[in-house]
């Protein structure tokens, strides 16, 4: 009796499953409750985003980028707009640059709140932390609506600036929000970080060693939790990130717990950045004059930013016409998802769920 022969069972997790963050299917091979193999199946939400991008003209693409990672629309717009500006060599006004930073960092807070909230929800907290987090997201989307007119699909960033100046009430409310964020995060941490069950569940689950993370091309909090302090905001500062003082949070082990802690630490840092940006916000114009169409020079460009989920890059090829010749997105969720089978093998089925939650994917971005 050296080994008991057991039979594996195959389970289809998804496309309709409560915790696959959208329409995502996993084919799990289980030995009892232990995961032997995982095969992710993506593409249920595919909607020809890149092809549509080639049909639209350069300006018309911004509202479509909102639909990529619908949790953090501002970051998507930011990446696209920066890429086009790099291609066409447009310099937005100073005030617009600061406004962009404020929006994008607020977006990072929102995204991490959603990520942490859903992770805890998948741990079985019955929506409580999620509702607390959603409440704070609500405050941010209110700020978005106040400024841009739409909560989830703001279409706020323009090529060469932002679509409208900040409304009067924005500054005091944003200041109040940013001041309140650390208190809220403290409360969230008091709620669950020290919780024995959470510690038990997350510790040493889904470990991704740094070298493996790099090999898989993981970026964002996933990579930083593995102990690689790589952040594009620091590594190759774009826009005006070199003017702000902030730290990169890095984990030590690379498990789910580290990702949770890294996200929480990043929220604090983002609040710090917004505070500095609000302090230094200059007066002046917010956009270069608006046009219906414009033709960037021929050439190609790749621009990447540190989106909340990782490296978000736009590769654009221009043939000098009104439309992009090629419009390619390097989506962080899609790349980060590749490491899922590696992390899941040997764990229990309940761990698969929290590992997915800790990667923080949005299917809109994975499938495009």
């Amino acid at each position: 009796m050296t080994e008991l022969k057991t039979e594996t069972i195959t389970i289809n997790m998804g496309p309709q499953h409560p915790s696959t963050h959208g329409v995502f299917r996993l084919i799990l091979t289980l030995d009892g409750e232990t995961v032997v193999d995982v095969e992710p199946v993506v593409g249920y939400l595919h909607r020809n985003h890149e092809k549509i991008g080639e049909k639209n003209n350069w300006i018309q693409n911004t509202p479509f980028t909102d639909r990529l990672d619908y949790i953090s629309p501002m970051s998507n717009e930011f990446a696209y707009v920066l890429a086009v500006e790099k291609l066409a060599e447009i310099e937005p006004p100073e005030r617009a640059k600061y406004i962009r930073i404020i929006m994008v960092e607020l977006n990072r807070i929102v995204n991490h709140m959603i990520a942490v909230g859903f992770l805890l929800n998948e741990l079985g907290c019955f929506f409580t932390p999620m509702f607390y987090c959603l409440r704070w997201r609500e405050l941010v989307v209110d700020l978005y609506e106040m400024t841009a007119g739409s909560r989830m699909m703001p279409n706020y960033f323009w090529i060469g600036g932002v679509s409208a100046d900040l409304p009067e009430k924005f500054l005091p409310e944003c200041k109040e929000f940013v001041d309140a964020v650390p208190g809220f995060i403290d409360e969230l941490e008091r709620l669950l970080t020290d919780n024995e069950i959470l510690q038990m569940r997350c510790r040493n689950v889904g470990v991704l060693p740094p070298d493996v993370a790099v090999e898989y091309g993981c970026t964002g909090p996933l990579l930083r939790a593995s102990g690689v302090p790589y952040d594009i905001r620091k590594a190759e500062p774009y826009s005006i990130y070199d003017r702000f003082d902030f730290d990169i949070a890095a984990g030590t082990v690379g498990d789910v717990l580290d990702r949770y802690l890294v996200r929480i630490a990043e929220m604090r840092q983002s609040a710090k950045i917004v505070e500095q940006a609000l302090r230094d916000l200059p007066e002046g114009e917010t956009a270069t004059p608006k046009k219906r169409k414009f033709r960037p020079p021929e050439g190609d460009v790749y621009h990447r930013i540190e989106a909340p989920k990782g490296e978000l890059g736009f590769y654009l090829v221009s043939d000098g016409s009104e439309n992009p010749y090629r419009y390619k997105i390097r989506a962080p969720s899609f790349v980060n998802l590749q490491s899922l089978p590696y992390m899941c093998r040997g764990h229990k089925i309940a761990d698969v769920v929290i590992i997915i939650g800790s990667i923080d994917i949005t299917m809109g971005e994975v499938d495009r």
């Binding site: 509202p63 739409s150 008091r190 709620l191 020290d194």
Partner: protein, 182 residues
């Protein structure tokens, strides 16, 4: 360790539990405010944050991007739209169709038909921003639900003008400018 983390967490939830009742006391006896409230909830305010929708209605932000409306010039009494079709060409989802009328009214060109298809509209707001006459605006309408998609959600010229007269009598958008005395 030993459940102290659990107890700490439970103290947080208990506090929230009590806070909602304290918040209710603050609203006593008007639990449901019947007038629209501008602020959905305070940032530092505690307590239940749901809005009891049919009773409590939140006023939309002035810049809220709802369905399109055509603005009327209050002095002339006709629409500002000259039917140039720039909105039609800039629309990424091809939701707008405009034709220009042959004869002018009050020395101004006017549209003959205007068809706005809300089924495909993505509310990006490009048409409003591009309009050379500032004749388009977003109405703060949010209860546009119908029982069927299709024709019910396609607005014609008259309906859009009606929306404009209803929500922006001053004929300007964003609505925050409307409030300013000028």
């Amino acid at each position: 360790m030993l459940g102290f983390g659990i107890l700490k967490g439970m103290s947080v939830t208990l506090r929230r539990f009590v806070d909602t009742y304290v918040g209710d006391l603050g609203k006593f006896p008007w639990r449901y405010r019947s007038r629209p409230v501008y602020k959905r909830m305070g940032i530092t305010e505690r307590g239940a944050f749901t809005i009891q929708y049919p009773e409590e209605r939140v006023a939309m932000f002035p810049r809220y991007r709802g369905p399109l409306m055509l603005l009327t010039d209050p002095e002339k009494g006709i629409t500002r739209c000259i039917g140039c079709g720039l909105c039609e060409r800039t629309c990424p989802t091809e939701s707008i169709k405009v034709t220009r009328a042959e004869e002018k009214v009050d020395d101004q060109r006017v549209p003959e038909t205007y068809e706005y298809d809300m089924n495909t509209c993505m509310f990006c707001g490009f048409c409003v921003q591009i309009c050379p006459q500032d004749a388009l605006g977003h109405s703060p309408e949010l209860e546009m639900g119908t029982y069927s998609k299709g024709d019910a959600l396609i607005l014609n010229l008259d309906q859009m003008l009606e929306l404009g007269r209803k929500h922006a009598p001053g004929g300007v958008w964003p609505l925050e400018k409307e409030a300013e005395p000028s």
